[in-house]
């Protein structure tokens, strides 16, 4: 039996293998594994989202309403851990799995079995993490950053630490796979500077992942040994320093922030040209801007720690380095706008999410600039202002990009068009309620309401109630999304064309819809006019 060219001679080449375990647990198929990632991510979005609903319910009115303070703290920590490691990151890996091989003309990921392992680690890791909520010691309740000495009091710290180790292993293997796929599996003629921006953004993100996930593993390992094996890394009495943890954590944490937004930049750079019917403005600048942001992400970590008591020189350095990031980010926002300028625009659901991303992410970027100023940050630090800031970049940023990507590529995945009316209902409800949810939190933060507290001064009551109402409605709106997804996958009568969108360019639109189980078993011939960004010579 020959392994060259194609695999599984027994299987029908165009059909998926039969049998649930065979297909989903033993898969070496990037599309099936991508689907698993996306379904997992959606599940986690609702679990993490339900934690957020509990938080907003408790904060609906001042005073203790529904839960014990410790449970509230568990909810804030778990909401973040689940959303970051369970919803956003796996969603991007799932999109990368599905789309990168299709975009560069590869038959699959470079290391398909490792790809399967990367996915299957995740459900187990989250079983481990979520099980802590039911254990005698309780779950992690010191925030997702798990600062010592607070986090060392958690009875089930070991579970959380090992869950993070597993997630890290999964992310590192996923990243290695993506790098090997992009650098080694491209079809002949698909030069690096001809790749779609989404592929570029993932290549750079993968480098970030491999560089920083091990640092997180090291930091949480020190937590583990400090708690269970009597080391003194974070104990000043033994010569250690709790601030050391914060340095290592944020050396991971800041690049992590960009791990969650660079692929989103890539997605927006795919959607906007399609619906503006113009090649992206300044392709090379877009690629270099992503690389610049990635580089800068390594030298700005201490801006998360301005209030901890750093030497003045460090505060000034990290302040200026942080503000530098606005330059390449500004380039990207400018280029998206310039891509739309003079285009023949239509406003299907993916484009609506992309435009909302550009506006609302920029708001999140501006509030970030405000906090980059050391003296101002002393005021904003650990208030609801930072909560508003990172939810603008993560919800209306990363999550909106992911939802936009789902609408954009869903017809290619399922072969059916989604319902445009309900897609728009989903969009308008999302964009309105997300602002009702998070915009008042800016005011709460500026007025001094601290984050991660279950009770608050009555002065903050009105804005909290508005925010909670927005939160419940934003959460409920996402049920529409699930409805649209299910309808599109199983019930939609409207078949998608191969090209799907009139202005869509790139290799992924040259294959049939739905994408066959195996694609590009023989390298495709690259036609420059068909590429996402046309000729890149300027």
């Amino acid at each position: 039996m020959s392994y060259a060219a194609t695999h599984d001679q027994h299987d029908d080449h165009h059909g998926a293998p039969k049998g649930f375990f065979q297909r989903w647990c033993m898969s070496t198929n990037h599309k099936d594994i991508g689907t698993l990632y996306l379904i997992f991510s959606l599940t986690m979005l609702f679990i993490g989202g339900s934690f957020a609903m509990l938080i907003r319910a408790e904060l609906f009115k001042p005073g203790m309403q529904l839960m014990q303070p410790y449970f509230f703290n568990e909810m804030t920590a778990m909401h973040a851990l689940v959303m970051i490691f369970g919803a956003i990151m796996p969603a991007f890996v799932g999109l990368g799995n599905w789309m990168i091989p299709l975009m560069v003309g590869a038959p699959d990921m470079a290391l398909p079995r490792m790809n399967n392992l990367s996915f299957w680690i995740l459900p187990f890791a989250f079983v481990l993490l979520l099980s802590t909520l039911f254990l005698p010691g309780g779950g992690p309740a010191g925030g997702w950053t798990m600062y010592p000495p607070l986090s060392l009091q958690s009875g089930s710290l070991a579970y959380a630490v090992f869950a993070i180790h597993l997630m890290g292993i999964s992310s590192i293997m996923g990243a290695i796979n993506i790098i090997a796929t992009i650098l080694n599996m491209r079809a002949p003629g698909m030069d690096l500077m001809k790749m779609p921006v989404f592929v570029w953004s993932w290549l750079i993100t993968a480098f970030l992942l491999i560089a920083v996930m091990p640092a997180l593993a090291g930091a949480v390992t020190m937590l583990l040994t400090d708690k269970y094996f009597g080391t003194n890394f974070f104990n000043p009495g033994g010569g250690g320093d709790p601030v050391l943890y914060q340095h290592i954590f944020w050396f991971f944490g800041h690049p992590e922030v960009y791990i969650m937004i660079l692929p989103a930049f890539g997605i927006i750079s795919e959607i906007v040209p399609t619906f503006a019917r113009k090649p992206i403005f300044g392709y090379k600048a877009m690629v270099f801007a992503i690389a610049c942001i990635a580089f800068l992400s390594f030298i700005v970590w201490a801006h998360h720690m301005f209030a901890v008591g750093l030497p003045l020189g460090a505060e000034v350095f990290f302040m200026y380095a942080t503000m530098l990031i606005s330059v390449p980010t500004g380039v990207k926002v400018f280029n998206w706008v310039a891509t739309m300028w003079g285009g023949s625009m239509t406003f299907e659901t993916p484009m609506l999410f992309a435009i909302a991303f550009i506006i609302l992410f920029t708001i999140g970027g501006f509030s970030g600039l405000m906090m980059a100023l050391v003296p101002a940050d002393f005021q904003y630090h650990d208030t609801y202002f930072i909560v508003a800031h990172f939810h603008y970049v993560l919800v209306t940023g990363a999550l909106f990009a992911i939802i936009g990507a789902a609408y954009y590529w869903m017809p290619k995945w399922t072969g059916n068009m989604y319902n445009e009316f309900w897609g728009k209902v989903h969009f308008w409800n999302s964009v309105i309620w997300v602002n009702v949810l998070f915009f008042p939190q800016h005011f709460l933060g500026l007025a001094g309401m601290p984050r991660r507290i279950p009770d608050y001064n009555v002065a903050f009551a009105n804005f909290n109630m508005i925010s909670s109402i927005g939160g419940f409605l934003f959460g409920a709106t996402q049920l529409i999304f699930v409805g649209v997804l299910i309808h599109c996958a199983f019930f939609s009568k409207k078949k998608a064309t191969d090209r799907v969108w009139e202005g869509a360019k790139g290799l992924e639109w040259t294959i049939p819809s739905p994408a066959p189980h195996h694609t590009f078993e023989v390298p495709p011939v690259i036609n420059d006019d068909e590429l996402a960004h046309g000729h890149v010579n300027d």
Binding site: A5, R113, T231, F233
Partner: protein, 295 residues
């Protein structure tokens, strides 16, 4: 099909990845349950951990066996070889960053936090209010912090066993390279000799390391509890020792595979991957020798 060697290769379905996820979960679940147990409480953690570790070993054996069989059957083309190389390269880079976290901790503690505890620079308030009699120092004179965590201790002198271990590891890097050249020249006896020597040198290193640890615990009172000096000393050398252990096992497996005639002068990525890994642990050791033992 056979002559389409330019076409892509996608491996067949395999249950090993799923098994790997299950045994990884079993291992860490057992470990977490064991660590989380109250003192004196006899939970099931240890048993689960043991099952997990045995499962991990079985999984590595099974997964690598299937990969080796596919490789011997000539299924892996040049492109797959490149993917494997990239995979190993970036895996080693991730290991570098893992050690980077611990080296970073060591540098931060020595350059900043210990001097601050002693009243230098900007951390003076801790010094003034909590431990005004603490003088910042490293090693035996204050490396265990103002509260003398773990009690008085002495450090391991750099120019004894650690120097010997440095020479052993450097020599082993040379012998593994000689074995590699012999492999490319097709001299089987020479490969087996020098690769075998590398394995022995690795094992000797580990023996001396264990000896050093016992001496540290019994005679020097240098333990994991000896303040942040003990923490950094044992975590850095311990993780390195763990990597040497893995590397030695990997080298031994490669030695057996050479014996079985798995490699030829053009196809021996398994050998090269392990050699890269061995050089990596060697370089980490040089960093340790410099920053943990000498300085």
């Amino acid at each position: 099909m056979g002559q389409q060697h330019d076409a892509y290769f996608v491996p067949t379905k395999s249950y090993w990845p799923f098994v790997a996820a299950v045994v990884m979960f079993t291992t860490v679940f057992g470990a977490a349950h064991w660590l989380g147990a109250e003192p004196g409480e006899s939970g099931f953690g240890k048993s689960v951990l043991t099952i997990g570790v045995i499962g991990m070993l079985a999984m590595f054996f099974g997964w690598f066996r299937s990969v080796i069989n596919e490789s011997l059957a000539g299924n892996y083309n040049h492109q797959v070889d490149t993917s494997f190389r990239m995979g190993m390269m970036w895996f080693i880079f991730s290991e570098v960053m893992f050690f980077g976290a611990f080296f970073g901790a060591l540098f931060y503690i020595r350059m900043f936090s210990v001097p601050w505890l002693g009243g230098h620079g900007h951390g003076v308030l801790t010094h003034e209010f909590l431990w005004s009699d603490y003088t910042a120092a490293w090693g035996a004179n204050g490396g265990n912090g103002p509260e003398q965590a773990g009690g008085a201790f002495r450090t391991v002198p750099a120019w004894g066993l650690p120097l010997l271990n440095t020479l052993i590891l450097l020599t082993s890097s040379v012998t593994v390279t000689i074995a590699h050249h012999a492999l490319r020249a097709g001299h089987r006896g020479k490969i087996l000799l020098f690769l075998g020597l590398t394995v022995l040198l690795g094992a000797t290193f580990l023996y001396f390391q264990a000896h050093e640890y016992m001496e540290a615990y019994k005679e020097l009172n240098l333990t994991l509890h000896s303040g942040v000096y003990g923490s950094t000393f044992f975590m850095l050398t311990g993780f390195h020792g763990l990597h040497v252990t893995l590397g030695t096992i990997m080298l031994a497996v490669i030695w057996l595979r050479v014996l079985k005639g798995h490699f030829d002068k053009d196809h021996h990525f398994g050998f090269e991957a392990v050699a890269w890994y061995w050089h990596f642990v060697d370089v980490v050791w040089l960093g340790l020798f410099m920053f943990v033992y000498i300085l």
